[in-house]
């Protein structure tokens, strides 16, 4: 359907589910599945407007790691070189999620093998980003889904 953009298709699906499907459902489990689907559609719509959050996350880690590599270049040259290598090793053409995974794995391996100056800072960069994304993710929780489980 070339005449509609992706956001318009998502919005139409959302209206259909909300208007024609949800009111007809009497099964609790089916209802909560549709409510969760509506929330998921909102999230996908947000990604269409704002980009893949994995790309944003990658950029934040990359910036932190570049800064750290620079700051420990004299006192921890091995770690600094390792950080540079981890960034260079990420395949540029890969999807944002794959690049984030590659970088995360390389940096974790580097952290696990490091003890000197900079290691704690590297862990702090990784953990801070995990907590930031976690807090952003809260917007897409479907309360009815959680309520149905407790």
């Amino acid at each position: 359907m070339i005449v509609l953009d992706s956001a318009q298709i998502l919005a139409a699906i959302r209206r259909s589910l909300e208007t024609h499907v949800l009111p007809q459902l009497t099964d609790d489990f089916a209802q909560v599945q549709v409510l969760a689907a509506l929330k998921a559609l909102d999230e996908v719509g947000h990604r269409l407007d704002n980009g893949d959050p994995a790309e944003h996350s990658y950029r934040l880690i990359e910036a932190g790691v570049r800064e750290l590599a620079e700051s420990v270049r004299s006192e921890s040259p091995d770690l600094s070189a390792g950080l540079d290598a981890a960034l260079s090793a990420v395949a540029e053409g890969d999807a944002p999620r794959d690049r984030l995974r590659q970088l995360g794995e390389s940096l974790w391996a580097l952290y696990s093998a490091s003890e000197g100056p900079g290691a704690d800072e590297l862990l702090a960069i990784l953990q801070a980003e995990a907590l930031r994304t976690m807090s952003e993710d809260n917007a897409w929780i479907c309360p009815e889904a959680i309520a149905s489980l407790t």
Binding site: D28, F29, V32, Q33, A36, A37, K39, A40, A54, R97, L100, R101, G104, E105, W108, Y111, L123, L126, Q127, A130, L131, M134, S135, D137, N138, W140, I141, C142, P143, A145, I146, S148, L149, T150
Partner: protein, 332 residues
Amino acid sequence: MAETTVEQMTAPLEKALKNNAPELGVERVVAIERFTSGLSSQSYGVDVETGDGPVRWVMRVEPEHGVIPPYDIAREYRLLREVHAAGLPAPGVFLLEEDASVVGGPFIMMHFIEGAIYRNTDARLSEDLALLADVQERFIDMLARIHETPQSVLPNFETGQEAARAEVAVCRHRLKMTELLPSPVLRHALDVLDEHAPPAEKIGLLHGDYRLPNLMWKDGEISGVLDWELARVGDPLSDLAFTQTIGRGVCSLEGELATKYSERTGVEIDEKRVNYYRLLEMVKGTIIGLAGAYDLANGGADLRLMSVARIAAAGQAMMGALESQLEQYLEA
């Protein structure tokens, strides 16, 4: 592969019950109702006509996907049989069907337990403090009984350290199986837990998911203790810590309630160990919750898992503080 629907299950289940368990006297499977609570396995109410009249059973199906891999419903069956025989009000299981083709996965069948569940937000508990105190008392007593129950199904351990490290290894394995993106918070917490595994005053059977909504009540007594799939052997303080973290609610065993547990069992409440197990239970619960995302990425069809994964991820915010507390105890 798409999940087997209730409609698709009815005829093959009836056939399997008639052919494989003729002693049950099944004449007809009248209805199958999926229970919406619980994520780890799929539970269904099964209404059956037997030669002795209508009965309701509960069927738990090992999911093809799921949040607590690796699954072993056969072991759960054996454990339930054993703890039920030992006098605990665990569901009375009577059938293990390992043929996954019948309802989409191996399953166990158990008697339906009559009773009601108290939610943590239940107005009856907030409005009637005497009832709340009674519920708390029985909650503690039942946990103590579980911890005293001998069993031969689950792996036993000689020391608390061995038991704790085994559970850390299970968590690490689950994380490795289900981690979609590297999780530095969980990986670090697992390393800390491995390094600081404490000795135990006592080792015993742990329920692993002991919370108010997993208990059934009838005539003021606990008529059922449900959801045993996370049961393991270890330091009883781990179950206490669970009630303070993932299982938090009106029956959190801390302060006066923890003292009552200690008086009932003789187990000393060592805050250092409790803190260790708070971290372990948070890590365990977070990994299980995050596995919901993996499940969806690999064929799962329960969209509630997306929200579960997000709620679980929020647990990571507590881990830094728990790790710091652990370090402080070690330095003291």
